[in-house]
Amino acid sequence: MSIIILLLIGIAAGIISGMGIGGGAILIPALVIVLNPEQHTAQGVNLIFFIPTAVVALFIHIKNKQIDFKMAIPIIAFGLCGAFLGSWLAARIAGGELKRLFGIFLLSMSLYEMLRKGKNPGEKAIQRARNEKQ
């Protein structure tokens, strides 16, 4: 029974990551609400979960020359400092508190997602490109 639920959660997260929103926003709350693991454990699942899918996607994007390395490299350099800081902070926050903080983060992401409609200049260009392909 629990295996089926885990697979379903994985499938839901996989669908969402395919849309480029980030599967963690589904995966972590679904795990926490259904199985109630420690918040850190749920976040750990998501971190590892991301790696194989990202490696595959990265290869495809490199092949298609879709990655702007000039932009990526400096962001990575600063991002690594952030990754250390964030993980260090996570280790210092108790599970219950981290869960609440995560909830606030999730709520703000959902507000952004609801409000961003029609504001994106890039979306129209993608839609146009898609239509041309068909």
């Binding site: 669908i15 693991p37 750990g44 991301f50 990655i67 962001i75 990754a83 993980s87 995560f102 999730l106």
Partner: protein, 124 residues
């Protein structure tokens, strides 16, 4: 020719995006892409699809660093992770098919409602 100030401003933006993305990704084990993609689009005027691809290149090394940290702290349950990842690989395939038949706008709306409900539930 770009002025020196322009370059400084640009690097300041890189630093800001990197630090915020990395910190969120480490603290919450997720959310890096949700921050990096719109930040690159709005602050650096990147094209949307290029921003998506570049975000993956950015977040992968950050996630590896955070993962190592989580593993050493004993936060990774490998049995749980393996089962969910298996579902996720299937989901990636199903997701690509689903996107072809179901409008992305609708999926995004359903998703945003789920996030709001889950967020409130986790706060309370």
């Amino acid at each position: 020719m770009k002025s020196k100030t322009d370059r400084i401003v640009k690097y300041f933006k890189y630093a800001l995006i990197g630090l915020v993305t990395g910190t969120a990704n480490g603290l919450f084990g997720s959310g890096g892409g949700t921050i990096a993609v719109p930040a690159m689009v709005h602050l650096l005027e990147a094209e949307e699809h290029k921003a998506h691809a570049t975000a993956i290149a950015v977040i992968l090394p950050l996630t590896i660093v955070s993962s190592v940290f989580y593993i050493t702290k004993g936060y990774v349950d490998w049995d749980l992770t393996l089962k969910v990842t298996a579902g996720g690989l299937a989901g990636g395939y199903i997701g690509a098919r689903l996107l072809a038949v179901c409008p992305e706008k609708l999926l995004r709306k359903i998703f945003a409602v789920f996030m709001a409900a889950a967020g409130i539930r986790m706060i309370l």
